[in-house]
Symmetry: C2
Subunit: 308 residues, 2 copies
């Protein structure tokens, strides 16, 4: 493989940072490479300006509850699209007003293999970590849901000369569990928001809120910011994210060394890993699948198409 990824199918990716990433021009290019297991790492910054999505695949009996969960929690769970019919892994039904055609969101699609990596949950227990595809788990009763991803506003931040630090350093974004409750829906109770974090200068936060607020369908605008937000969100240790890579300063020190510094302020957005956490809390029966955090489905649709 051309990328520096020493992980195996059984373990989480272990990345050699600083190695240049492969370049892809379109979402389809990324999907075809992922389908062939020729690209298996995180997708931030790939195929710039193409929308990226979180994936969650559920037994059909939970679909209605899940749609309500999304409707009641649009910041962490913004629903973009779902399987056209149960069992369908190649055609989408759009849930975006701005892009009403599922085929315009992604055509030439295999939801079972087009994310670089997947997680698998059986009876709400985390069972498989970071596998390359989910063909052997997929059944005609499964429905896939695509949820917006905050990677989708990173091009806009880059264009405003405010590139996210994990993007600059070629690392996975840092993701954290919080204590902010999701509004429950049917079987989905007891779950909390998962957030992604990007450090910025305090003085830039108004600009960052303004840039990302147009991306309602992909977790914008931010939901909390400032060093004091850690306590409000119930994040005990900024250096120990539950998913993704630990956040670093540009000279590779732990971000916690900057605590209280206005030049390195954590800024938080809703995160599409939230539905996977909701599944773990819901005691669902059967097999549930999702993308591995940071290893998204890259779409045909451009980010600007979802701007409101």
């Amino acid at each position: 493989m051309a990328i520096a990824n020493t992980s195996t199918a059984d373990g989480p990716p272990v990345l050699s940072v600083g190695v240049p990433r492969r370049r892809f021009n379109t979402g389809l290019d990324v999907r075809i490479a992922a389908r062939a297991n020729d690209f298996t790492t995180f997708t931030s910054g790939l195929a710039p300006s193409h929308l990226q999505a979180n994936l969650i695949v559920l037994p059909s009996r939970y679909a209605s509850d899940f749609r309500d969960l999304c409707a009641r929690n649009p910041v962490p769970c913004p629903l973009l699209a779902e399987s056209y019919v149960p069992g369908d892994f190649s055609r989408l039904k759009s849930r975006l007003h701005t892009v009403p055609s599922g085929a315009k969101i992604a055509a030439d699609l295999d939801l079972r293999s087009d994310c670089p990596r997947y997680n698998v949950y059986v009876d709400s227990k985390f069972t498989k970590d970071g596998v390359f595809n989910i063909q052997s788990y997929w059944t005609s009763d499964h429905i896939a849901f695509l949820i917006g991803c905050s990677y989708s506003f990173e091009s806009a931040l880059c264009n405003a000369a405010l590139p996210p630090r994990h993007f600059v350093m070629d690392r996975n974004v840092s993701m954290y569990r919080t204590n902010i409750p999701l509004n429950p829906a049917g079987v989905f109770t007891g779950a909390t928001y998962v957030v992604s974090m990007r450090p910025y200068k305090k003085a830039d936060i108004p600009k960052i809120r303004a840039i990302t607020r147009g991306y309602l369908a992909t977790h914008g605008e931010c939901l909390a910011w400032g060093w004091d937000a850690l306590e409000r969100l119930g994040i005990a240790d900024i250096d120990t994210p539950q998913w993704g890579d630990a956040p670093l300063t540009l000279d590779r020190r732990p971000l916690s060394e900057m605590m209280g510094d206005d030049d390195h302020v954590p800024v938080f957005w809703g995160c599409g890993v939230t539905p996977q956490e909701a599944v773990m809390n819901a005691g669902l029966e059967g097999t549930v699948m999702g993308h591995a955090p940071g290893h998204m489905l890259v779409l045909d649709c451009l980010e600007e198409a979802i701007l409101v």
Copy 2:
């Protein structure tokens, strides 16, 4: 007045409970009575099956931020409609997919006088409590927003032989501040959910969740339940709601005496007083107006029209 309401325009309503309430057949009947200051008390159970709404009136420069606040927080802030144009107090623009015509939501309308009572905030400070109308505060720059109200699923609960207790006892519903943060939007930062509470038997909660979940536009389904929810929501004292009447047992004892009892379990829904709290936290300049909690705008539209 036919109702037992000893309050004045300067103070909150003081109600003699147990006196039969006046009967109204339609939303318009209630609005005409409120317009004439001939009905000035809380509206739960009035004109059964007619949709009720929370009102918030803002200077136009905050309208865009407020729409985003609603989009990002649909459980406590479900937007039903707004002024057709700035300054318009008699015509609505619908924000409901199921009832796209503002005139079908309410015609023959004067938003300045058709709630039984109003609160007024100047420069984000609570200034006037429970006034009968807001004609002297309204300007051509004001935009009114109608937010769904949980009274709108009370008919459905009554029809299922699960009438809310405040309804049976002819009291105002109990409303509480919580520590659950709203997703911020523009100027609206730092606010938290307000919730309404209705006690029920623990065994009935699944049925209650199922009945109210169709009312996505009016705070359904519930967002928390159980005696342990008090701590999760940050409610220190169930007997001291911040708005409405204190909750009682059917034999008129404080609800706290039932703490831990499965026959008297608090169940919480999002509450449309939330935007008024958001205003207080946002440091808005100028004059903001809202309905007095529990004293809603009653609409022409029927509750069943919004079911999803």
